[in-house]
């Protein structure tokens, strides 16, 4: 048993629902107890879908267990076929039904429905959501391509025809998949490459049967598509482009790879509309980004991409990376090795929180979970990966992929940070009373708060104001804040002169330094010794 507070991934059948929901004419009959229908609201609420999830749940109850749950499953299949007339049906069991061993595969096959019926074996007690999505996509593609797979011979592309590819991996409830497809399709069109099929998102069963017609595949989201593209490689001799075009460098490499695989003139690379990121990053306002310490956590694909952007394109320092995607742990560990940090491979949210608290980064690039962690630790955060939240489906066009995706990422990542000139000015005027953290923001006007009061009382009281109560104290491992260390009054006063948004860090660094040095009293000198020791 594993104690779990929050999970990054749902069970594998939720992955299967993401595939069924992504497609236009596939229905999933899920043998599941009453209550498992909660999964519908992920799609209708988080993604604001305007149609019901194409899933029929058997919703059996205790009183059915003594009777014939198999018959309930079969009638659910028959009714679903009759009512929804799907082009293909997925059948399987959720965690509880798996224990009943009713054999959905055999039961569904026995019905002889006039459509392809694809049984799914998704071991709920071993695997998770992304694995379930990947497995479902693979099984479905194999089933729908069964007749073409036998002794397939790839024809030569006729001279003068444009090369074509499939975009594989986007699903329902995917992080920015909707807009990534649009962006990558535009990019490919500019290069002169057609998109044969996008799947599973927006595809029909008939579209999957057309997959071999493309010259090559693009694995946009390896977590979902990798198993399928490997099979397509073997079976239909379709090469795969595996570079995920997130970030300027990765998109440039992606273009080069597409040109190579499609046999295009390298000059077509010029036709892509370039990103503004390279100039924005070079412009002087971005000087303040230099060496910002970032922690990165999410699915493997987005973490690997983010690490490259952070180091090469933003000039950040990556102080830690990690992923909950065990399937791609090796790749993330390799990357961590190159960056000289330790990879955190974990689905334990508390462990991630402890790591962030320990590393004290200036920016967290993570999932919605890390956004909450960062909020509690008062660190800026930008979301780069699933699990998704309603915020991750913005009304505006906001891809992560391609050059426009790089523009979106630049804006998104610097948003939680202070702008360069702004940060410089605040540093310069930090002694002014307006920058006291107790002052009312100037835009609220004098009549709005305690503006006058703060001026008539001593700006710095001579007793130490306690720091805001540590949030979620139970979750933060005993940091370097040794209880035995005392701050001298003058040191405490000096600390208050440091702008409030870096004061916490200065306090922690100083205390850490004091422990290292075996000091019990922190003086003004200790404060500056620590500053010299740690640098900015």
């Amino acid at each position: 048993m594993q104690l779990t507070v929050w999970t990054y991934e749902g069970p594998p059948h939720v992955g299967a629902i993401r595939i069924a929901t992504a497609m236009t004419d596939v229905h999933y009959v899920l043998h599941a107890p009453q209550g498992d229908t909660y999964a519908d609201l992920l799609f209708t609420m988080i993604e604001r879908r305007d149609q019901r999830t194409p899933v029929t749940y058997t919703t059996f109850q205790a009183r059915d267990l003594g009777g014939d749950t198999a018959e309930i499953f079969q009638s659910a299949c028959r009714d679903a076929h009759q009512r929804f007339q799907p082009a293909a049906m997925l059948v399987g069991a959720s965690c509880t039904a798996e224990l009943l061993q009713d054999n959905p595969a055999g039961l569904a096959t026995a019905l002889n429905l006039p459509i392809p019926v694809v049984p799914l074996e998704l071991p709920s007690y071993q695997k998770k959501e992304n694995w379930g999505a990947s497995e479902t996509f693979y099984r479905l593609a194999r089933a729908l391509l069964a007749s073409r797979a036998q002794g397939y011979v790839r024809p030569e592309r006729a001279a003068g025809t444009r090369p074509s590819c499939n975009l594989l991996g986007p699903t329902a409830l995917g992080f920015r998949h909707r807009d990534d497809i649009t962006e990558v399709t535009r990019l490919l069109a500019a290069l002169g490459v057609d998109v044969n099929v996008v799947a599973p998102l927006g595809a029909s069963a008939a579209d999957l049967a057309r997959l071999p017609d493309a010259d090559f595949n693009i694995s946009l989201y390896p977590e979902i598509a990798d198993v399928t593209v490997r099979w397509l490689e073997r079976t239909f001799r379709q090469p795969t482009v595996r570079i995920v075009p997130i970030g300027v460098g990765a998109t440039t490499d992606f273009i080069a790879e597409v040109i190579k695989v499609a046999g295009l003139d390298p000059a077509v690379a010029e036709r892509a509309i370039p990103s503004r990121l390279p100039w924005y990053s070079r412009s002087v306002d971005s000087t303040y980004l230099t060496g910002k310490r970032v922690f990165i956590f999410g699915d493997a694909t987005h973490v690997i991409a983010a690490a490259r952007i952070a180091t090469e394109e933003m000039g950040f320092t990556v102080v830690g990376i990690g992923t909950y995607t065990r399937e791609f742990a090796r790749e993330v560990r390799e990357l961590a090795g190159k960056l000289g940090v330790e990879a955190l491979i974990s689905e334990d949210y508390l462990e991630v929180e402890a790591r962030i608290a320990e590393l004290q980064p200036e920016l967290v690039l993570g999932t919605q979970m890390e956004r909450h962690i960062a909020k509690r630790l008062r660190i800026g955060c930008a979301v780069i990966s699933a699990p998704v939240h309603v915020q991750d489906f913005p009304a505006r066009y906001a891809p992560q992929m391609g050059f426009e995706g790089a523009n979106v990422i630049f804006d998104t990542w610097i948003h939680p940070l202070m702008m360069g000139l702004e940060e410089h000015l605040i540093g310069m005027f930090r002694g002014d009373f307006e920058f006291s953290d107790s002052a009312t923001p100037s835009h609220l006007g004098a009549g709005h708060g305690s503006h006058m009061a703060t001026q008539t009382t001593p700006v710095v009281p001579d007793i130490a104001i306690p720091e805001p109560a540590p949030v979620a104290a139970a979750t933060i491992p005993p940091a370097a804040t040794g209880a035995s260390i005392i701050w001298a009054n003058e040191a405490e006063l000096e600390l208050k002169k440091i702008p409030f948004f870096v004061r916490g860090k200065a306090r922690r660094n100083t205390e850490r330094f004091a422990i290292l040095q075996g000091l019990e009293l922190i003086t003004v000198d200790t404060l500056y010794d620590a500053k010299a020791h740690f640098g900015r």
């Binding site: 048993m1 594993q2 104690l3 779990t4 507070v5 929050w6 999970t7 749902g10 069970p11 059948h13 939720v14 107890p33 009453q34 209550g35 498992d36 229908t37 909660y38 519908d40 609201l41 209708t44 993604e47 604001r48 305007d50 149609q51 019901r52 999830t53 029929t56 749940y57 058997t58 109850q61 205790a62 059915d64 267990l65 965690c95 509880t96 224990l99 709920s124 007690y125 998770k128 074509s164 497809i181 649009t182 399709t185 535009r186 069109a189 057609d194 998109v195 099929v197 996008v198 927006g202 595809a203 579209d207 979970m369 909450h372 939240h389 066009y397 949030v471 979620a472 139970a474 979750t475």
Partner: protein
């Protein structure tokens, strides 16, 4: 099982018409109750013993990851537990140790059974007894099942409260009558009711569940209980077994329901009409005034309930009698005839009640009836809105304070809001509203 057309006043019979169905039930399981129960009992922790699905369900139902370390978690059963490689009870003890050492502030730990734990017959009551021996008195350990195979949505609260009943202290048989309000209410609502009971002269009032798990009300033959929620069948049965007498009343939603509910208590405590009027006149008049604002916006409009929380019948009674709405169908997960009788008796004659509806067939009836407002779960709301129907999420009725006089107006407003919103919006949907779909120029189709 065929689609029924509502047969409101036309039937001429005075009882509601009840129809039972089998089929896909789009309702939550009892684990969902943890979301509000853990806010109510502030020193309790809910440990679900279940699968990743259970953990994902609670997380999704909570909507957001609000709390650093919430007072609920899941002990996820893994392959090695099922394969017998690990002793499930030893594993559970280890997880509980881990949990309680992190959270020494916890005074009551619920081990919550789930579908998988029920199917593999993991005996959580035995585990709870064993752990209770170890941790009592620092922490009590109880167990109940919130599994979907045994409970729907709000029944999880019933199961949790029922698990607490045996630990309630006994009250001497000869002690004077006391009043027990059963069912989780928002603190502010409890305080309002407490003031009214004080004004009525009923001083000895306790609420169950308590805000602190150690403030357990004593129970005995002198206990008169009022159910505040319509889903507490087992809890009420066990309390009756401990000597309590249930006061039959409609549930305290709206002016009519609240007055009748308070009236049942007043009658049981021998309080005369004049004293009752004196204590309730002011809030009753305020509630009526609050309702005046909303009634014209609801009167004459039709409403259709999908099954969700068991609150459907009292809500329909409120909306029909106090807001003048026309009830098309009242879907309920199940029907407890005895507890629901007072509300059902006040429903308009011939109101159609469906118990445990098949969601597809119910959707057919709903589309055919085209009601002005549909009360449904979150899985159906957006799809129905996209079909041009107005919806009200049923879950909001569970998470919002709606009981009592002071909330009558708020309750009506929840139903007015969808109409209000529709009226404000003057922005057309595009002709083909594939709003969630990819905007890709190709979609799944060929680009050529």
């Amino acid at each position: 099982m065929t689609a029924h057309t509502p047969i409101n006043a036309a039937s001429g019979c005075s009882e509601p018409v009840v129809q039972r169905q089998r089929g896909q039930h789009a309702v939550f399981c009892g684990l969902t109750g943890i979301i509000w129960m853990h806010r109510k009992i502030q020193d309790a922790f809910f440990l679900v013993v279940g699968s990743r699905t259970c953990a994902h369900l609670i997380q999704s139902a909570a909507g957001v990851m609000i709390f650093a370390e919430p007072r609920f978690a899941t002990a996820i059963i893994e392959e090695r537990d099922l394969a017998g490689l690990a002793d499930a009870h030893e594993e559970l003890d280890r997880v509980v140790d881990q949990l309680l050492s992190r959270r020494p502030d916890i005074r009551l730990l619920f081990l919550v059974g789930s579908c998988p734990s029920e199917v593999i017959k993991l005996d959580l009551s035995r585990a709870a007894q064993r752990l209770d021996k170890r941790f009592n008195p620092d922490c009590r350990v109880l167990s109940y099942s919130g599994s979907g195979i045994e409970t729907t949505f709000t029944q999880g609260e019933d199961a949790a409260l029922a698990a607490m009943v045996p630990s309630l202290p006994a009250r001497a048989a000869d002690s004077p009558a006391s009043l027990l309000i059963v069912g989780a209410l928002a603190d502010v609502v409890e305080d309002q009711f407490r003031r009214i009971f004080t004004d009525l002269g009923i001083g000895d009032v306790a609420f169950f569940p308590p805000r602190r798990s150690t403030d357990l009300p004593a129970i005995g033959p002198g206990t008169r209980m009022l159910l505040a929620q319509p889903f507490l069948a087992e809890t009420a049965r066990l309390l009756e077994g401990r000597g309590a007498t249930r006061l039959s009343a409609p549930f305290p939603l709206g002016v009519e329901g609240t007055s009748a509910w308070l009236g049942a208590a007043a009658a049981a405590f021998g309080i005369g009409q004049a004293a009752f009027d004196a204590a309730t006149a002011a809030p009753r008049e305020r509630a009526a005034r609050a309702m005046e604002r909303y009634r014209p916006q609801l009167a004459g409009k039709s409403i259709f309930f999908f099954p969700d929380s068991q609150l459907e019948a009292p809500l329909a009674r409120f909306l029909a009698n106090e807001a003048g709405m026309r009830i098309v169908e009242v879907g309920m997960p199940y029907l407890h005839r005895q507890h629901m009788a007072p509300d059902m008796g006040l429903l308009p004659a011939g109101t159609l009640i469906t118990e445990g509806a098949d969601v597809d067939q119910q959707l057919d009836r709903c589309r055919a009836a085209r009601p002005d407002l549909v009360v449904c779960g979150l899985g159906l709301a957006n799809p129905l809105e996209a079909e041009g129907l107005n919806t009200k999420w049923s879950i909001e009725l569970v998470f919002t304070p709606i009981h009592g006089y002071e909330q009558a107006g708020d309750l009506a407003e929840l139903f007015v809001r969808p109409f209000n919103r529709k009226q404000r919006l003057n922005v057309q949907l595009p002709a083909k509203a594939a709003t969630h779909q990819t905007a890709a120029p190709t979609g799944g189709a060929s680009c050529s």
